[in-house]
């Protein structure tokens, strides 16, 4: 195991968990290797941490925790690029923006999820331009909406 200094501190890197973004991600085009870190104190927020730059760590989350009926459409080209063979290969994460001093205005980018193939270690931030999702959904509103959906569902089935 190799030790790497990152924005969230020194990490021991398990090679198998490194995710390679062949084209970088928008805004960080020159960075290739990242790792998804789960920290007890920030869970359910995870960190997409750059192994190339000690200044870059992006908060991400399982989007279904925020929007229960979220749908991701992965285009054929991405399936090829990431060598996705089945659902079990996939890990989907969405980028969070948490404004300093104003957590209530936290937003989630549902238009451009991070798609990771856990098996091949390849990742990409895809852009679902015509999905109807935006890049700045307010998290508090989405949680409210999801709760309502869950409640309606349990009332209808129960």
């Amino acid at each position: 195991m190799e030790k790497v200094m990152t924005k969230i501190g020194e990490l021991e890197i398990d090679e198998e968990k490194v995710v390679r973004f062949e084209k970088g991600i928008p805004g960080f085009e020159s960075l290739r290797d990242f790792i998804v870190v789960e920290k007890e104190e920030s869970y359910p927020i995870l960190w997409l941490v750059s192994l190339d730059s000690p200044n870059v760590a992006i908060p991400v989350i399982d989007p279904w925790l925020i929007r229960v009926d979220y749908t991701v459409d992965i285009d054929e080209e991405t399936v090829k690029e990431l060598e996705i063979e089945g659902m079990e290969d996939l890990r989907i994460l969405a980028v969070l923006v948490i404004p300093v001093g104003n957590p209530k205005d936290m937003t989630i980018n549902l238009m451009a999820p991070i798609v990771i193939n856990k098996r091949t270690g390849k990742g990409k931030q895809i852009i679902m331009e015509n999905s109807g999702y935006g890049i700045r959904h307010k998290v508090v509103d989405e949680i409210e909406r999801s709760k309502k959906i869950m409640k309606d569902m349990s009332e209808n089935t129960g």
């Binding site: 805004g27 359910p44 992006i58 980028v95 923006v97 948490i98 300093v100 980018n109 852009i127 949680i143």
Partner: protein, 82 residues
Amino acid sequence: MLVLSRRINESIIIGDDIEIKILKVEGKTVKIGISAPKSVKIYRKEIYDSIKRENIEAMKSELTEGVREILGGVRDEDRGQR
């Protein structure tokens, strides 16, 4: 930047397999048709730029007690399912 003038229904070819055709001009709006292989990703520049901005903003995020409060509910529910 290469600048070319084109009339309606005229095209530009880029490389071997990308064609860009001017379909309609109306006031300040130009309608453009693009034929390209599927592997070529085409986005409106402002969408790509806004995702770029969001990622950079995300990097500046601050994790505070308030964040944990907002996500407290989803955290517990999720843990329950594990």
